[in-house]
């Protein structure tokens, strides 16, 4: 105010020229005019409950309580536990609301949060755990630099060595969380982590009271150990490997070997940790026996302990195996001593001691639920036993106990009582089944038969849709066929009892295949693969090969079945995906003599419209190949081919070339291709004269059935291909053929384009040629046939106009005229062909007779 006044007083004099000068006293204020509006604004101060004065919140991400991320992070290190907890929940809200905030400030957030890993307050830790688990890790899944993990790890390790047991156990839980989301992080810190596990398990008696915590820690251990490489039973690589991704074969490969090379430190640690695990487990055993019921917590602990033992044993085995494959085959084994031997010396002793506890809970039968628990534990122990079987020399008594358990398990004497038991039992059986083949091959004879008996029973009882089937099938494959790696047979098929079992399995396979239908195509595929392998690898002239041959009787049902009333029931073959179809077709090749019944069911499939042409061609290919190596009778194959050509349904609607009929036209193309394929097969068979005789006989059987024009054309083609000049056709067959050919020609005449018509379709011309050319070949080779056909054509014009004339007069005349037109156009068309013209000249008599008859027809009403 004080400054504005002088400026206004300076300006006044200038303006005062036109106006009356008003004298004013300096320092005095005029009273406001009466009509002046009161523009004064009154306000009161509003006190906001905030601490930072400078922050401007508009547009910033805030939590429910209006706090920014920065404040929340500050609050996480508040001395009050409640505030810390609230801050964590606040962060959670905020991140859920504004996910961008997290990606922007992830480093800051993690940096601050990690301090809370070893927070004294239990609730705070739990909240942090939830926050990391539910919000932060899932959100950061995509981009997590190693630095973030290492930031966390420093504090986790700090927590792991904390004095308070709670914090310690919780740290393991955090580590588990990290590994869960970023599995590779385990290998970076494996040694240190395992060391910490070792420490904590060593003092397990302290934590025996607090089993849930111990359980949490063990869950983490199991997870870590399951990351270790082991001999996984992979499915046959040929089942579904994608090799198409590779662009060029000789290109430089960018792939870095994924194998983690340095396992030596982990091995060392695991060697230390394994006895501790075993000890820990044995600490639980006294708890088990006296008590009648086992509480869930300690059961879980035991289960996880067993799992970790199992996993580490597997890892050792992997090491031994790898060692052998790396240095056993390529180089002789002289440098074995220099290699670190993977846990071979120390482990067996205490493991044997550990296995002695088996089976648990033999003494008292308690409530059902408990029994299940013991059952699960027993299965786990069995699994460890089976894994370690290869390098522990077990005592016979123990072995007996295990074998008995396995037998009971297979035969279903031990069952789960609870409702979910069925699924559980299947799951556990699946894990045990892969060991059966090896076990059977190793144990003594009495046990061998008992195990096989139980195995076969279980396999037979297994429902077709059960997941167990896959495990059963892979075990059977291992026991039937020489293994892929070793190349030797596991079981000696010369022993009658083993052979019996093998035969039972083989007989079961087609039945299973038929029962499956098309419900589980993946399983069907595995079965078909097994059948194929069996056909390929079964030693020649052995009983297995014989059994494989017998199988075709049951396999017919898989393709199709002819019912008593003549209708056809298609088997699962028609509905399976194409790769399964191809596999099953390949199986046919290996039958040492293909049965004609199977061929019949196959031909029904081939004649079905739904079958894809490519599969049909495969069938033709495979049958031809089978014939080549003598697995198929010549007559059978030829009648298969002829039946195919004679009965294959060509859809009508050939005159149209519109888009909607494109499919129907392609159908005809398919038929042409089939005829072509059959022709080329017939030509490759060798002795043309002999094949011609057979083909001729079969075709003459088919012709009286009046096949459609396309099929007749196909059959004529077959004859033409095999025939030579002069014709080899017999007198009788010429007579039969001439009958059908004359009708055929009149039918085909409708395709002959009219002369001078310019818009004739090139398509139509080709169709016409397609129909007529085989006839021309036949005429060219046999004058007699031509004569007969011309005769028949003539008589068809002149025949019995009297008998029908009274009834359908107009109909008849129409029919007759079209016939005459057809004959004429045929004769004209034949005349155009130079070769046939020459032939025609020799049968002028027949032609004049035809002309006379025509004249008769035309001039006599």
């Amino acid at each position: 105010m004080a400054r504005s006044k002088p400026s206004s007083s300076k300006k006044q004099p200038k303006r005062g020229v036109d106006f009356k000068k008003i004298k004013r006293k300096i320092g005095r204020k005029l009273p406001p005019p009466k009509n002046a509006t009161n523009t004064e604004i009154k306000s009161k101060a509003i006190i906001l409950p905030e601490q930072s004065v400078a922050s401007e919140r508009a547009g910033l991400a805030v939590s429910k309580k209006g706090l920014t991320l920065k404040e929340l992070l500050q609050q996480t290190s508040h001395h009050n536990a409640k505030v810390r907890r609230d801050a964590l929940t606040g962060i959670r809200d905020l991140v859920l609301k504004y996910p961008a905030e997290l990606t922007l400030h992830k480093l800051a957030i993690i940096e601050k949060l990690r301090e809370r890993i070893s927070d004294e307050d239990k609730v705070v830790r739990e909240t942090l755990y939830q926050l990391l688990k539910l919000v932060i890790f899932p959100a950061l899944k995509k981009d997590v630099p190693g630095s973030l993990i290492s930031l966390m790890m420093a504090y986790i390790f700090n927590g792991m060595t904390h004095l308070a047991t709670d914090i310690r156990l919780m740290a393991f839980k955090f580590f588990d969380l990290v590994v869960q989301h970023y599995p590779s992080s385990f290998f970076m810190y494996a040694e240190k982590v395992l060391q910490n596990y070792e420490d904590i398990l060593r003092k397990n008696h302290i934590y025996l009271q607090d089993r849930s915590k111990l359980k949490n820690a063990l869950v983490g251990l199991v997870r870590c150990l399951s990351l270790l490489p082991c001999n996984r039973r992979t499915v046959d690589p040929s089942y579904g490997k994608n090799t198409e991704t590779q662009g060029s074969l000789h290109a430089y490969e960018l792939e870095v070997p994924k194998e983690h090379t340095d396992f030596s430190s982990i091995i060392k640690r695991l060697e230390d940790i394994l006895p501790i695990l075993v000890n820990c487990f044995q600490d639980f055993i006294p708890l088990v026996h006296p008590m009648s019921s086992l509480d869930a917590q300690s059961f879980d602990c035991m289960l996880y302990l067993l799992r970790s033992i199992d996993l580490s044993v597997k890892f050792f085995l992997y090491g031994i195996d790898k060692h052998q494959t790396d240095f056993g085959v390529t180089k002789p084994t002289y440098n074995e001593k220099d290699m670190p031997v993977w846990g071979e010396i120390a482990t067996p002793v205490f493991l044997r001691k550990f296995l002695e506890v088996f089976p648990l809970n033999q003494l008292h039968n308690t409530s059902g639920k408990d029994e299940d628990k013991f059952f699960i534990l027993n299965i786990e122990i069995t699994e460890i036993f089976l894994h370690s079987n290869e390098w522990i020399f077990t005592s016979a008594i123990l072995m007996e106990r295990f074998l008995e358990f396995i037998e009971n398990l297979l035969s279903g004497k031990i069952r789960f009582n609870s409702r979910s038991g069925k699924a559980l039992q299947e799951k556990h059986l699946t894990s045990l089944l892969p060991f059966i083949p090896r076990l059977v091959s190793l144990v003594a004879n009495t046990w061998k038969s008992r195990l096989l008996q139980a195995f076969t029973m279980a396999f037979k009882d297994c429902k077709p849709e059960s997941t167990l089937n896959l495990a059963f099938l892979s075990a059977i494959e291992e026991m039937l066929l020489p293994s892929k790696r070793q190349g030797i047979l596991l079981l000696d098929a010369s022993e009658p009892e083993i052979l019996d079992h093998q035969i039972t399995w083989i007989r079961e396979l087609p039945v299973l295949l038929v029962r499956l239908g098309d419900t589980l195509s993946s399983l069907s595929k595995v079965i078909l693969h097994l059948l194929l392998r069996l056909g390929q690898y079964a030693p020649m002239n052995s009983s297995l090969a014989w059994e494989y041959d017998i199988m075709q009787h049951t396999l017919g049902e898989f393709y199709s079945m002819c019912l008593d009333d003549g209708s056809i029931l298609y088997g699962p073959f028609m509905k399976l995906p194409k790769d399964c179809q191809e596999l099953s077709v390949c199986c046919l090749y290996y039958f040492s003599s293909l049965d004609s019944l199977l061929l019949r069911s196959l031909v029904y499939c081939c004649l079905c419209d739904n079958l894809e042409p490519s599969v049909l061609f495969r069938i033709i290919d495979v049958l031809h190949s089978a014939y080549k190596i003598g697995h198929l009778q010549l007559v059978d194959l030829i009648s298969f081919f002829v039946t195919l050509v004679a009965r294959w349904k060509v859809l009508p609607g050939r005159l149209y070339t519109h888009v909607e009929n494109a499919k129907k036209i392609s159908n005809r193309e398919t038929f042409k291709a089939i005829t072509g394929a059959v022709c080329s097969c017939l030509r490759q068979m060798g002795d043309d004269a002999l094949i011609f005789q057979i083909v001729q006989r079969v075709i003459l059987d088919e012709i009286p059935l009046n096949p459609p024009i396309d099929n007749l054309c196909g059959m004529l083609r077959l004859l033409v291909i095999l025939d030579s000049r002069p014709t080899k056709l017999s007198e009788q067959s010429i007579i039969i053929l001439s009958n059908s050919i004359s009708e055929y020609l009149i039918d085909a005449a409708s395709y002959i384009p009219e002369n001078g018509d310019e818009v004739t379709d090139s398509n139509q011309i080709s169709i016409c040629q397609y129909y007529l050319v085989p006839c021309f070949f036949l005429f060219d080779r046999s004058d007699k046939l031509l004569n007969l056909v011309l005769d028949l054509m003539g008589s068809s014009i002149g025949e019995d106009n009297s008998s029908l004339a009274c009834n359908h007069d107009t109909q008849h005349t129409l029919d007759l005229s079209s016939r005459i037109v057809a004959v004429v156009s045929i004769l004209l068309y034949m005349h155009q062909d130079i070769k046939i013209r020459r032939r025609l000249s020799s049968c002028k008599g027949e032609i004049t007779r035809i002309l006379q008859k025509m004249r008769l027809q035309v001039y006599t009403p």
Binding site: T243, E244, L249, G487, A538, E582, V622, G630, S680, R683
Partner: protein, 445 residues
């Protein structure tokens, strides 16, 4: 002289044509060969396994020498042999039997060195890798196995190893019809064809399937382009498809993925393929009895030979020694030539001999090169060699002493020479410098 030889399963003999002039050479009589059952042993003579009716249990292998149409040597192995190959030197013949066994004979002595059970079904094709250390065999059961010849003869090593073969590929579902391997020994690729309408490319170094190519028809023969950019696949529909090995192929193709084109002459099925030595001409044999020579670059037919009406199942391109002058002289100097001609080796034996006989054998066979004129000493006895070695060892003390003395003298003399030369050089140098400086001085003066 580079010749095309071809044989047929019907008795049409073995045809032989000069690849470049097209002139037909001698036709060797009475041969009904099996598929892949024709081989040329070290450019010295022809060998073929014979188709027999199933009644006879033993097989037949016949030898023809280059200059005689008649069969010269007949051998009868224990079972019918289907595929037959020989190594490039012609020291060994390897055959695959109908039981799945592989036979390994030494040519010079005819001994059966090894017979091992290789497949569960009859072997259909054999191929030696370019360094002749690996043998690839295919069988009717669709299995392809790779054998290290080194391991096959290492009995102890065989027992130690988990399996006798190096690799066993069983991805083919039907009979394997042909197998070829590329360059690079154990790092090569192999291409196999099967009746399941696929060709598969395998890596020998990694032992895995690299690529599987579906064809519109069954492939009966495969030939690798020398540069290994493409391979040619002779199909039953009469076309020779060209499939890419290296290039990225366009996904939409008329024939299918990886197939970049075809050679076609509307013939019947192609049964066998062979490349000429220069890698430009591709020779194909067909079901219709003709042999077509294609220029692989321009994809045109260069020549057509006719063998017979029946199908052809073997085509080879081999270098044949020039015997033409020799043949003309053969009549005049019959007795002389008889002495010159290396008599064909004895027939192949039926069974593996007992081991003591093997130890006893004292002959080292030096496979002679057929182009060389000296054919008198194809065999060197090991006794001679051992004698020479011992002689050398005995002589060494006296002879080498003298030699050393002589060398020492030589050395001394040379050193003296060097000294002299050095002096002369120094003189010359001095003279030159003086001359130059003298000139300078005269100028300045």
């Amino acid at each position: 002289m580079e010749v095309v030889i071809a044989s047929s399963p019907v008795d049409a003999g073995i045809g032989c044509w000069d690849l470049h002039s097209g002139a037909e050479q001698l036709r060797y009589r009475s041969c009904t060969s099996t598929p892949h059952g024709l081989a040329c042993v070290g450019q010295r003579f022809l060998v073929s396994s014979q188709l027999r009716d199933s009644s006879s249990s033993s097989g037949t292998i016949l030898y023809w020498s280059w200059n005689k149409p008649q069969v010269e040597v007949k051998s009868f192995p224990a079972e019918p042999i289907h595929p037959l190959i020989s190594n490039s030197d012609g020291t060994y013949i390897i055959g695959g039997g109908s039981s799945g066994a592989i036979y390994f004979w030494e040519v010079a002595s005819g001994r059966l060195l090894k017979r091992w059970h290789a497949h569960y079904r009859a072997a259909t094709c054999l191929f030696l890798s370019d360094d002749e250390s690996l043998l690839v065999s295919g069988a009717e059961d669709g299995c392809i196995r790779v054998w290290s010849l080194f391991m096959v003869f290492d009995d102890i090593g065989m027992e130690m190893a988990k399996h006798p073969y190096e690799y066993s590929f069983s991805e083919h579902t039907l009979r394997v019809t042909d197998v070829v391997s590329g360059y690079g020994g154990c790092n090569a690729i192999i291409v196999s064809a099967s009746e399941d309408r696929t060709c598969k490319v395998w890596s020998l170094s990694r032992g895995k399937l690299l690529r599987s190519i579906d064809f519109p028809s069954i492939i009966d023969a495969v030939a690798l382009d020398p540069g290994e950019h493409v391979f040619y696949a002779g199909a039953r529909d009469g076309k020779i498809y060209i499939a890419a090995l290296n290039a990225e192929s366009t996904p939409s193709n008329i024939y299918g993925k990886h197939i970049i084109g075809s050679l076609s002459d509307n013939s019947k099925g192609v049964t066998c393929l062979a490349f000429s030595m220069d890698g430009i001409l591709l020779v194909s044999g067909s079901e219709d009895g003709t042999i077509r020579v294609w220029d692989a670059k321009t994809r045109n037919i260069v020549r057509i030979f006719r063998l017979a009406k029946g199908p052809i199942n073997n085509v080879l391109v081999v270098r044949r020694p020039l015997y033409s002058n020799f043949q003309t002289s053969a009549n005049s100097h019959a007795s002389l030539s008889r002495r010159h001609v290396p008599l064909l080796p004895p027939p192949l034996s039926k069974y593996v001999n007992s081991t003591d006989e093997i130890v006893d054998s004292g002959a080292i066979t030096v496979p002679q090169t057929p182009s060389s004129d000296i054919m008198d000493a194809p065999y060197l006895s090991s006794h001679v060699l051992t004698k020479q070695i011992s002689e050398l060892q005995q002589q060494s003390s006296a002879a080498t002493g003298m030699e050393v003395d002589r060398l020492k003298l030589d050395c001394k003399r040379s050193l003296e020479m060097v000294q002299k030369w050095k002096e002369m050089f120094a003189d010359l140098h001095k003279f030159c410098v003086d001359e130059l400086l003298g000139n300078d001085q005269t100028q300045t003066q």
